[in-house]
Symmetry: C2
Subunit: 169 residues, 2 copies
DNA sequence: TAACCCATGTAATATGTTACATGATTTT
DNA sequence: AAAATCATGTAACATATTACATGGGTTA
């Protein structure tokens, strides 16, 4: 009986990137994270390389040295145990339902503590930035693009709703 | 010229809690975080007490021992420098516009990698849990309750939208 | 040929989680 | 009287950030 390892969000997402690619390097995982419109997914080297080493130790990832170009690359693949761990991670409704973390929501939460004029300036600037979020230069799967667009619209909508309510009183 | 300290989200929110209360203990900050529907705001002792100590060292919080009840409490107040740091934190549109982190969004992002039937089961269970999110027993400011309700509705809506699109193909 | 991207990794540091420890007060 | 809550804090551990180090290949 394999010990049940509880994957972090970063670990689950890393397996997702590698599964989608079939095979890729840790560097490609970093880039995939870095293209996210969220700062949560920094793709910093100090996070990704130790994470990959961890998943290898747990038997969820396998690596193969590759030297086709002069570069010494490590091609990663997800093992069967890795896929099982990934599915357990993704299909957990308790974690999926969690509110997570939204910097805008947090700020609206405490918005009564700042002067109304400054708040309105923040909301205007934030709305502009949210509207300006564009799909990354890297080509994205269509469902991914739709998802980002959907969330962009959602947050923009929440912001406008809050603004209108604020104005009305 | 005061050195500009960049507040983390936890630090900013902690100042917000104390500002709203006027004066409160670190324990009250913990409880305020713990009532959040997001696991991001755990309010763990090991996070909050060192955080408060940090803000005191930086002159953003002041503490006063209080022994009105037999208990040794430390009443915290936000200093003028603390309020300035709080406003700079809250009013930063670049941080406010950031996508942050949403466990549901992340899972939908990788949802093409799991069998459709299992995904549908996840979506149904997640929708139920999102719908079941209730206001905490602790009384909330009305704008806070509205904000949670708004986000709950929006996430539910995004989920349903995703489900319909999925079904249609 | 200089700058930039690919590619891997580590060291110092900061921050957070879990679990423990302590003790007073309030509720059941 | 026991259990829960108020209240403070620390120790061990896990994980992430920033900055650095190293080198091969590609583009301006």
């Amino acid at each position: 009986m394999a010990k049940r390892f509880h994957l972090t969000e970063l670990e689950g997402a890393a397996l997702g990137v590698i599964l989608r690619a079939g095979t890729c390097t840790a560097y490609a995982v970093r880039r995939a994270f870095a293209t996210s419109p969220s700062r949560f997914w920094t793709g910093s080297a100090g996070a990704v390389y130790p994470l990959v080493a961890r998943l290898e130790r747990r038997g969820l990832l396998a690596a193969r040295r590759d030297r086709r170009d002069g570069r010494a690359r490590r091609e990663l693949t997800v093992t069967p145990a890795g896929r099982r761990a990934f599915e357990a991670w993704l299909l957990d409704p308790d974690r999926a339902a969690d509110f997570g973390f939204d910097p805008l929501r947090t700020r609206l939460f405490y918005s009564d503590l700042v002067p109304a004029a400054r708040l309105e300036a923040l909301l205007a600037a934030t709305a502009a930035r949210i509207a300006a979020v564009r799909a990354p230069a890297v080509p994205q799967a269509p469902h991914v693009a739709r998802l980002h667009e959907s969330w962009r619209r959602l947050r923009g909508g929440a912001l406008e709703e809050f603004r209108k309510l604020k104005r009305r009183r």
